[in-house]
Amino acid sequence: MDWINLLLLPVLRSVALIVVLLTGFAYLTWYERKLLARFQVRIGPNRAGPYGLLQPIADAVKAVFKEEIVPNMADKAVYMLAPALALIPALIIWAVIPVAKGVPAIADVNIGFLWILAIAGIESYGIILAGWSSNNNYSLLGALRSSAQMISYELPLGVFLVSILMLAGGFSLVSLVETPRAWWEWIWLWLMFPLFFICILAETNRSPFDLPETENELVAGFQTEYGGIKFALFFMAEYINMITTSAIMATLFFGGYRLPFGLLGDVIWLGPFVLAAKVIILLFLFIWVRASVGRPRYDQLMQFNWKFLLPVALGYMIITTLLTVFLK
């Protein structure tokens, strides 16, 4: 029995999670292409299957059967390792996100918040190593840009997380969703949401902060030398990161797996579906931003972070501390 609880159940849960996330990734690409097409008054993919629903499968088959090319002067071991290192953090961050009442995806640890911070910290390895090991100047420049961007935006992100943590009063994400919040807490949290979302956009290298892969300056940035399934892994990492961060935002700001006003709170199996609905709405936000906002220059990106976001985040944290001490 010990083995079943210790090993079998977590493995089954992980496999289920990975299957769901990979399917989610495949259909997120479809969702994005369809939505972008609509924003630009086009129709979008409509050839493979009804409404183009089989398009992701066609794309996957294409990526798998492409020729594998490894640059001659690349550091082979690191070159092969980098796509995997990009994908793994996006998947394992899910371990602590609650999917239903009292049910975390894998484990309820008392350092849930810190787990998110820790994994966010190692997310940049895949990109740095990909850029360096390809032995290509565009790749290296893209990687340097990207890691500088991710490390910089991690700062305000971490400070915002600390503020949420102080409001929640505990490190566990499972108990965070269950803890009732006062009305001023919700308003105070939602005031911060746009800034938090900007940090997340930069962390996931999504448009308008996709400077690591600006095609007019850097070809494709860190992934220039990657093709076939290895490129698909980077692609997968980016999109699964979008899903993951949406789930985190849904958990932190919008009550995770719960319906508003405690509706149907006893129906436990409803949790994952509610969470999925919230994730889909937040993903729409990602794509909406991509369709409507232009890319800033690199120095503007950095200035915005260091001269605006970080001071604001620190101020927010100080006010949150005062609110927590005096009102809770």
């Binding site: 350092i111 810190l114 820790a118 994994i119 966010a120 190692i122 190593l129 290296l140």
Partner: protein, 171 residues
């Protein structure tokens, strides 16, 4: 053999192999990556010992910060094979041996004192939780914490001063 022992042996093997990799690898980038693996196995050990906060801090600070810094340095100042003429300094082996002896002495001292000291209690196991760590750090060790904070601030200002571009008019 219990499951936790098997787990320990596997993680320890990975940890030792990666530690060997750090010192035997010919490429600085590979050394840095081996060091990353080593740091992460250390974090796993902390978790098994009930020190979750320490484990998270280990990954955030060492894996997320310091190894990335090392990678940056290696990438920007070149990453030729170790063992070239630039790597030969007369005092390097002696300094290495001295530091090794110092570390061994510290480890022996720690082991010896824990052998004869009190065994781990429930309080000691609880002490790894974030709240307990925070309470200890900000009551008993408040002075060292503040001093470390000031030290980091001084380092930050120093770095700013060094990196600042001289004003156009001034010589």
């Amino acid at each position: 053999m219990s499951a936790s022992l098997v787990f320990f042996i596997v993680v320890a093997a990975v940890s030792l192999t990666s530690a060997l990799g750090v010192v035997t690898s010919r490429w600085p980038i590979h050394s840095a990556l081996f060091m990353l693996v080593n740091f992460i196995t250390l974090a796993v050990f902390y978790v098994t010992l009930g020190a979750q906060f320490l484990a998270a801090a280990q990954v955030i600070i060492y894996a997320g910060g310091i190894v990335i810094l090392i990678l940056f340095v290696v990438m920007l100042i070149g990453s030729e094979k170790i063992g070239g003429p630039s790597g030969h300094r007369l005092w390097t082996p002696y300094a290495g041996v001295a530091l090794g002896v110092l570390m061994l002495a510290t480890m022996i001292y720690t082991f010896a004192s824990s052998l004869f000291g009190a065994p781990g209690t429930a309080d000691a196991i609880e002490a790894g939780h974030p709240k307990a760590v925070g309470m200890t750090l900000f009551t008993q060790y408040i002075l060292p914490i503040e001093m470390a904070a000031v030290l980091l601030l001084v380092a930050l200002i120093g770095a700013l001063l060094l990196a600042r571009q001289p004003k156009a008019g001034a010589q």
